[in-house]
């Protein structure tokens, strides 16, 4: 109860003008009542932000919410669906799993729930496509993150006399210069429990998009381009040149595999520097500030630049999808509300979220760092969703395992790619 009051207070003074225009719940249902069950991955502070985001809708409609958080959303959703007890609305594990749920007929199409004209003016086509299966919209994005950012410590850069590179050649030269000085340039950590390896898949995706362009990237995602093709092989090799070389990565490849992804950038804050560069998505700043509470300060001891383009420019992204499993008036109304800029602005202002909506202005972001994240997404000429998340689950997991094998034994790349080709043949079939 106290928590709810606190949440209400937070949204009251922080949330723009939630109660003013009556825009939440576009249908204008007024008192809807009833309950809605929601299943998502948000726990703790994220859960508070999510609840703050839907609070104006709850206040307006009088709906009671039953919110369940789980980190293993895929297993939980699958079990609940198979058991005949799906949540009304759920966060989806990713576009790959979303396709599966949609083709099995579990997800309710949103074409007549959400006003598509408004939706397509507020959202970039990339987000709409990523939420569409077989020409029907089934998933909406509430919050997204930018991938392929390179973080560095400006103080250490100044001490070493280094400067932020202008282009990819500049980055290569910078990395070589750092390695020659005796300090490995990169800090990389791939451990993440059952999902270990995913940070390396981000690396490879960034290389595929920048080396071979969005068309090749799309074919690769769709399973039409074999892993043993030159394009994918050269992305693996570009990553391996840095991640498997003792001189290039802090602690050598062994430490790359044994370090948790949240600690991969810790070496940026060592004194003297143990590494200078860390490649990760926008959310890593939270880890910096948790791990080094008095040391990590945005703009002073950590800053970032987007990974430069090589042959092509592009930005890789990820995001949190929501889908509707039960067609109830409450679920319809909440899905409509979640796409509104008013709703997304609430989480943006609380920090830790980037809105995919073009209607959420840059000045809604609480600090300069998140403003710059948002600008990267909104101004990018080519954005592509995280490839491994778009692939079928079996392919995605094989990809995670393959990059770990590769870092351990770079010479076995041929065998690893052949193995991935075999998985590709079966994973897309069903």
């Amino acid at each position: 109860m106290i928590v709810m009051l606190v949440l209400a207070a937070c949204t009251g003074d922080g949330g723009g003008s939630p109660g003013a225009g009556g825009s939440p719940g576009a249908g204008g249902e007024g008192e809807l009542g009833g309950t809605i069950s929601i299943l998502a991955v948000y726990a703790d502070a994220e859960q508070e932000s999510f609840m703050a985001m839907i609070q104006p809708w709850l206040d307006q409609t009088g709906v009671e919410v039953e919110y369940t958080a789980t980190r293993d959303i895929n297993a939980q959703l699958t079990t609940q669906i198979a058991g005949g007890n799906p949540p009304d609305i759920a966060g989806l594990p990713g576009p790959g799993a979303m396709q599966q749920f949609a083709r099995d007929g579990d997800l309710v199409p949103l074409d007549d729930v959400i006003d598509m004209d408004t939706y397509s003016t507020q959202y970039d086509q990339g987000w709409i496509t990523a939420g569409t299966v077989d020409d029907q919209l089934v998933g909406i994005f509430t919050k997204v993150s930018v991938k392929g950012l390179i973080f560095y410590n400006p103080e250490q850069f100044a001490a070493g006399g280094y400067e932020v590179p202008e282009d990819f050649d500049g980055l290569t030269a910078l990395v070589d210069e750092m390695a020659a000085s005796g300090t490995p340039p990169w800090g990389i950590g791939l451990e993440s429990g059952a999902a270990s390896g995913w940070p390396a898949t981000d690396w490879i995706e960034d290389f595929v998009l920048r080396q071979s362009g969005p068309d090749v990237y799309d074919q690769w995602v769709a399973g039409e381009l074999p892993w043993s093709s030159d394009e994918i092989r050269s992305a693996f090799e570009a990553f391996g040149a840095w991640a498997t070389d003792e001189a290039m990565v802090a602690g050598g490849p062994n430490q790359v595999i044994n370090t948790a992804f949240g600690n991969g950038g810790d070496c940026l804050f060592a004194d003297p520097a143990e590494c200078y560069l860390h490649h990760q998505a926008s959310f890593i700043t939270g880890f910096f500030e948790d791990n080094f509470p008095d040391v990590a300060v945005a703009g002073e001891t950590y800053d970032f630049f987007p990974m430069p383009g090589i042959e092509f420019n592009g930005v890789t992204t990820a995001g949190d999808l929501f889908g509707m499993f039960n067609d109830t008036p409450q679920a319809r109304s909440l899905m409509q509300y979640l796409t509104t800029p008013e709703a997304q602005r609430i989480w943006v202002e609380r920090g830790g979220a980037i809105s995919p909506s073009k209607e959420v202005p840059a000045d809604a972001y609480p600090d300069e760092t998140s403003q710059r994240f948002a600008e990267i997404i909104l101004s990018a000429e080519t954005t592509r969703f995280d490839a491994s998340d778009l692939m079928p689950a079996a392919m995605n997991e094989a990809f995670w395992g393959a990059v770990l094998d590769y870092v351990q034994d770079p010479d076995s790349l041929d065998g690893i790619l052949d193995e991935l080709d075999t998985v590709q043949e079966s994973a897309y079939g069903g």
């Binding site: 958080a69 609940q80 509470p293």
Partner: protein, 303 residues
């Protein structure tokens, strides 16, 4: 009475103590190997728990960036903040209550049913007794996860999904095979003559069960209580699937799991949460432990 120095007086009275006295006369080196082995095994066994305990008193940044063994190097950094954080998080109190509301019925019901069934399997004659018993014991090998979806469908059909009776029933079902197996062997090892004389004196099976079997089976029942209580108390999966995780019904493991956010941050809080949630099971264990070893051997040696 004067107490003699050393143990010879006892050794003379107490026959089993004699080997100890003999060993004592030999140089202690003979037992050094044994003690050393025991000490090493104990340390290896306790190491994870000790590291968890140490980590639970370390600040977040220290836990995130260095190993627990570095806690003993300068500067010493210890804090109770993790415990305060866990206790002040959403609904930890409600969750504790929910856990009790789930665990107590989910311990009492299966053990009662198991005791009745085990007595029938041991001392009542009915056709198909052995086939039924083999069937029940066979259920021991079925993994819980494999039955989760049918059990959920059943709960949805009964309309109890999302409420505590759903978990009570599920845990009763999951706990019964082992309970029946353990108790049947324990009841079965009781002397036949005892029940025969009771029956000759006109005792009904009900009387024999409540007046003879149950009082004698206290050690076995106590150890079953410990098993079942700990299993249900620590259960995350069944509770999450059958009652869901929203704050009004979530038990402790669900709330504790939700301390960690979607990116795996805040895991340092799990250390202190583990010790907090351990308190009640530890209390139950120590309260019943004098029965525990006797009970776990129950029925294993049939006299």
């Amino acid at each position: 009475m004067t107490v003699p120095i050393g143990a010879p007086a006892d050794a003379e009275v107490d026959a089993p103590a004699r080997p100890v006295a003999i060993a004592g006369r030999r140089p202690w080196t003979g037992r050094l190997g044994l003690h050393l082995t025991l000490a090493i095994i104990s340390i290896v066994w306790l190491l994870p728990t000790i590291s968890l305990l140490i980590s639970s008193f370390r600040p977040e940044a220290a836990t995130n960036t260095t190993g627990w063994w570095t806690a003993f190097t300068l500067p010493f950094e210890f804090t109770v903040q993790n415990y305060l954080d866990v206790l002040s998080r959403n609904n930890m109190g409600t969750s504790f209550l929910n856990s009790l509301l789930i665990t107590i019925p989910a311990t009492v019901i299966p053990i009662m049913v198991a005791a009745f069934a085990a007595f029938a399997f041991s001392w009542m004659n009915f056709p198909g007794r052995n086939v039924l018993f083999v069937l029940v014991v066979g259920l021991l090998v079925i993994p819980l996860q494999a039955t989760l979806i049918p059990v959920l469908q059943f709960s949805v059909d009964l309309g109890i999904v999302g409420s505590f009776p759903a978990v009570w029933l599920a845990h009763t079902g999951f706990g019964l095979p082992f309970g029946i197996f353990l108790l049947r062997n324990f009841f079965g090892s009781m002397p036949r003559e005892m029940f025969e004389s009771a029956f000759i004196d006109g005792a009904s099976p009900t009387t024999a069960f409540f007046r003879l079997a149950m009082p004698l089976a206290v050690p076995a029942i106590a150890s079953l209580v410990i098993f079942q209580f700990m299993w249900v108390w620590n259960d995350l999966l069944v509770a999450l699937v059958l009652v869901g995780g929203f704050p009004q019904v979530a038990p402790m493991p669900v709330t504790i799991a939700n301390l960690v956010d979607s990116l795996g941050r805040n895991w340092h809080l799990l250390t202190s949460a583990a010790f907090i949630s351990m308190l009640l099971p530890l209390f139950v264990f120590f309260a019943l432990q004098r029965y525990f070893v006797r009970g776990i051997l129950g029925g294993s040696v049939k006299g």
